[in-house]
């Protein structure tokens, strides 16, 4: 299919039409969602920060293996959990985590999962979250 070039018209007419098309948008409603005040609807599958359910984790190290950029390392935490005999839990380095959700996919007990929390900015380059911190809400994680 050959694309057609626009027909030659009287000079300036089309230009004025274009200017009017732009001007027309003044009357339309802005589409802006004012972020901090107005919270937008977040889709169910939206994924950002990783959370960990300490009680469900069985320490199988599958998430460590599947993580493509080695953001997940297993760490020993002294904690009374009968299902996790080896007492190893994942810690996540958010400085390299690409939220690819492979860990969530492969986790046999759904202990590690991604959530909607995205307000994770820091003024320091310290993003290594220990297993306990992974279970905390974002506001309480202070470094």
């Amino acid at each position: 299919m050959e694309v057609q070039e626009p027909k030659r018209r009287i000079p300036l007419v089309g230009t004025v039409e274009g200017v009017l098309t732009v001007f027309k948008h003044v009357l339309m409603k802005p589409v802006t969602v004012q972020y901090p005040e107005e919270k937008e609807y977040v889709p169910e599958r939206f994924r950002f920060r990783i959370f960990l359910n300490l009680d469900d984790c069985v320490g199988c190290t599958l998430c460590e293996q599947v993580c493509p950029n080695k953001s997940i390392k297993m760490e020993t935490v002294k904690r009374n959990n009968p299902r996790n005999k080896r007492m190893i839990y994942p810690d996540v380095n958010f400085g390299t985590c690409t939220v690819c959700r492979n860990c969530q996919e492969i986790c046999p007990t759904d202990a590690i999962y991604l959530t909607h929390v995205f307000e994770t900015s820091r003024t320091k380059n310290s993003f290594l979250y220990s297993p306990e911190e992974l279970a905390m809400p974002e506001e309480e994680v202070k470094k």
Partner: protein, 346 residues
């Protein structure tokens, strides 16, 4: 009655010499402040208008509706480090932004702004050769741009300055010719056809209706003078980073920035004075200032919409356009104006 005599009336008790001095001093300061605020208001209006055209909201965090945004910008620009290029030409580099801004302010002070109830006619200088003075002052600004571009010792700045000059040369002549047509038309009705206020007062039917060609040429020239899209080849952001102002920081850049928007405001004042009937309005002549402001705002809105909707023209095409189209059109316009004036007596 005028602004000057109004102020003089207030300070009459001080005696003639002192009162005259104080009058001019106070009027100048007030005028400077008003002009700066008006230019800042234009920038704020542009940012809000641009946001609305682009389905956004625009600045709204500082003050009600973001009205203090420009003050925040000014504070920031004042507080910025001033970086001077090592290989600059010192004097021109420092003078250039000031030239642009001063030229703008002087041009503002030449225009008449109509009258308002008690104050009377508002003007600072009502020179007998106002039109010549106005365009002489307007011709200072490109010198500032050229100096800025050459003295920065930056290739982008240099190309930007050369483009700006090429652009200026190609629209100055048509612009002057179309203004000359105004003078020709006004000369039939007023004895002092070089005085801006008498030209505007004689303009009972707006000259824009009598000389649509002149309006077209002049409007395009004003866009080119203010150098925004489609004629912003001098500082074309996507090609030359920032053109002649690439190397400027802080308040020096702020002066260029103010100068650009100030020229838009000035241009819309001049267009509405010369072509849209200025402060002449249908009812009372006491609110001439309001008429003028309304017309100026309309022209400003048109200018901004053109800015936001147009791509940038190529410099050689613009030079062609200037010499091959604008110049003949303005000559035809001049001839037509003479014809209308002499034979039809309009």
């Amino acid at each position: 009655m005028s602004l000057l005599s109004f102020t003089y009336g207030i300070f009459k008790v001080l005696g003639y010499d002192l009162a005259t001095f104080v009058t001019f001093l106070i009027d100048s300061i007030v005028f400077l402040l008003v002009a700066s605020v008006a230019v800042a208001g234009t920038i704020y209006f542009f940012r809000k208008y641009m946001a609305r055209v682009q389905l956004r909201i625009g600045p709204n965090r500082v003050g009600k509706f973001g009205t203090l945004q420009l003050i925040a910008d000014a504070f920031k620009l004042f507080g910025k480090e001033s970086i001077l290029p090592r290989l600059r030409d010192d004097l021109p580099y420092k003078v250039a932004p000031v030239l642009v801004f001063i030229g703008l302010l002087v041009a503002f002070s030449i225009l008449p702004y109509g009258s308002l109830y008690y104050i009377g006619d508002i003007f600072i200088s009502n020179s007998g050769v106002g039109i010549i003075l106005l365009f002489a002052v307007l011709a200072i600004m490109p010198i500032g741009e050229l100096l800025a571009g050459i003295s920065s010792h930056n290739k982008y700045s240099l190309i930007g300055a050369l483009r700006a000059v090429a652009k200026d040369i190609s629209f100055e002549v048509p612009m002057m010719l179309s203004v000359l047509a105004i003078v020709v038309m006004a000369s039939a009705r007023t004895t002092n056809s070089l005085n801006i206020s008498s030209v505007v007062t004689s303009e009972l039917l707006p000259y824009g209706i009598l000389e649509p060609l002149g309006l077209f040429v002049f409007f395009i020239s004003m866009i080119a003078r203010a150098s925004y899209t489609p004629f912003d080849m001098g500082e074309s952001e996507s090609e030359l980073v920032s053109g002649y102002s690439t190397e400027y920081t802080g308040m020096r850049f702020g002066l260029f920035y103010l100068g650009m928007f100030g020229t838009i405001l000035l241009g819309s004042f001049i267009v509405s004075l010369f072509y849209l009937g200025g402060y002449n309005g249908p009812y009372s002549s006491d609110i001439g200032l309001i008429y003028l402001l309304i017309k100026a705002v309309i022209v400003v809105v048109i200018s901004f919409t053109v800015w936001l909707a147009m791509p940038r023209i190529r410099i050689d095409k613009f030079v062609n356009f200037g010499w091959k189209y604008l110049l003949p059109i303005s000559v035809i316009n001049l001839v037509l104006a003479g014809f209308l004036t002499i034979y039809l007596g309009w």
